[in-house]
Amino acid sequence: MQILSEYFKKDHFLSRIDARVKLLIALALLVMVLSYHGFVFPVATAIICLFLCMAIKVPLRVFILRFSEPLFIAAIVVLLKLFFSGQDALFSLNIFGAEIVGHRDGFREGLLIGTRIIGAVSVIAVLGFSTPFTEFMAGLSWFRVPKGFIEILMFAYRYIFVLFEDAQVIYQAQKNRLGYSTVRRGLSSFGTLAGTLTIKAFDHSQSTTVAMVQRGYEGDMPMLKHKPFKATEVTFSVLFVIAMGVVWKM
């Protein structure tokens, strides 16, 4: 498992910007990318985000990992639209006696969706690469996301790493004892692994509760207090969103 945001250099100009500001910019850009009916804006957004990733020195391997799946999905959508949508024939292929027709208008529709995917993924990638999870959660509480949801998010994030280590130990032990040598044994082993993780989760939740109650927990966890917004950050963000809005309107 790779929590990709943990892989990059954390101290850079983007990580020092208030998480709330980054969230607001990201949401504004997402809305613009999703509601745009052309190629220019998503491509421009993706290019800006690519430069930002380079500027904050995101390792190439991490970058490729992050974008491989969305790029693959974008390619699938282009193919899907090319062959299944549209009227205007662009080319035809004969495979095993069946004629497959690629359509010009379908291809254009596919490209529109494909660039939208890349644009939107780029925005979220920059947000993920530049915002530590704790700050992200603090930002969510400022957006009035219900406290219960953020608490569950905090517990989950804290214990993903603990449980993942447990899962790795169990998986290696099962593998060493040929637990995955056949599909049938693999399924049985996987069920045992998942069941054991559930038991461990339950036990951890009990011990965590005892420890928290000893420290004064009464059912609600305190949230981070927010610092006031910095005028320079807010001004720059508003100008940036307005500039992107102008490109979006063109």
Binding site: M1, L4, S5, L30, L34, S35, F67, E69, P70, F72, A74, V77, L79, L80, F83, F84, S85, A98, E99, I100, E109, I113, I117, G119, A120, V121, I124, G128, P146, G148, F149, I152, L153, F155, A156, Y157, R158, Y159, I160, L163, F164, V183, L187, F190, G191, A194, G195, L197, T198, I199, A201, F202, H204, S205, T208, T209, M212, V213, E218, G219
Partner: protein
């Protein structure tokens, strides 16, 4: 001509099936940006009341049990890890990933399970690029709401007919997975169809998912059965606490 059309109808989804099943596909997650703004908003609107009800149930349950919030958080971590674990799909010759919402639906009930899925999906979207922020609503609807309810009701219905734990768990996992994939197909078809009619595209996407999702559903069923049986044998107290079984059932 008719013969040629029928060949084409079969051949094209097969080709797409090969594409969709290649590599480590997270086929259940709808990728960031794939849905246009209006459809992304629609699925958010559908998801919000369910998540709200989940939060209400969480508040009620945690009033009487202080360990309930940590437990739900930890279950979200388990669902996250399970849905990141690669399991082999023999027919596709590759690995795919279970949803884990069937089992959380059985253990925590559908309302809390929706919350668990929402949390796991948000972490995956932000840090692993599986799913997305704009498609979070759609992913909650397919994996969280439909998956959890399908798993929960299948398990409850079979248990009420005295079907044994393993078969009930298997069917719950199977239907949770397949119901999720049908809903994902609906969401994808409605989101990317443009001016094309909905139904033909829906069927094509549904058929294209078959090489991975049909066996994956069976694998998820087997995994869910394994989990439920393990808990029943080793820690029936957990199943009693989570109101999956009654105390008398263990005594039997």
């Amino acid at each position: 001509m008719k013969n040629d059309n029928s060949k084409k109808l079969l051949l094209l989804p097969m080709l797409l099936g090969i594409f969709l099943s290649a590599g480590n596909a997270h086929a259940m997650h709808i990728s960031e940006g794939i849905l246009p703004f209006n459809w992304a908003a629609v699925w958010f609107v559908v998801a919000v009341p369910f998540v709200g009800y989940g939060l209400y149930r969480l508040k009620k349950m945690s009033e009487t049990d202080l360990s309930f919030k940590p437990l739900v958080g930890l279950m979200a971590a388990v669902v996250f890890i399970i849905s990141c674990m690669p399991i082999p799909v023999p027919t596709a010759g590759t690995c795919s990933h279970p949803c884990g919402t069937g089992i959380s639906g059985i253990l925590l009930g559908p309302a809390i399970s929706i919350l668990v899925s929402a949390v796991a999906l948000l972490i995956q979207a932000l840090f692993l690029a599986h799913g997305g922020l704009s498609t979070w609503g759609a992913d909650i609807v397919s994996m969280g709401i439909v998956g959890s309810f399908a798993g929960y009701f299948t398990f409850k219905a079979l248990r009420s007919m005295n079907v044994n734990m393993a078969v009930s768990g298997f069917m719950a996992g199977l239907f949770a997975d397949w119901a999720t994939y049908i809903t994902t197909s609906v969401e994808l078809a409605s989101g990317i169809r443009g001016d094309s009619p909905f139904m033909p595209l829906f069927w094509k996407i549904l058929i294209a998912f078959i090489p991975t999702q049909l066996p994956l559903g069976i694998l998820e069923g087997a995994m869910t059965a394994g989990m439920v049986v393990l808990l029943y044998k080793k820690r029936p107290d957990l199943l009693i606490k989570m109101r999956v079984i009654k105390t008398e059932e263990v005594a039997l």
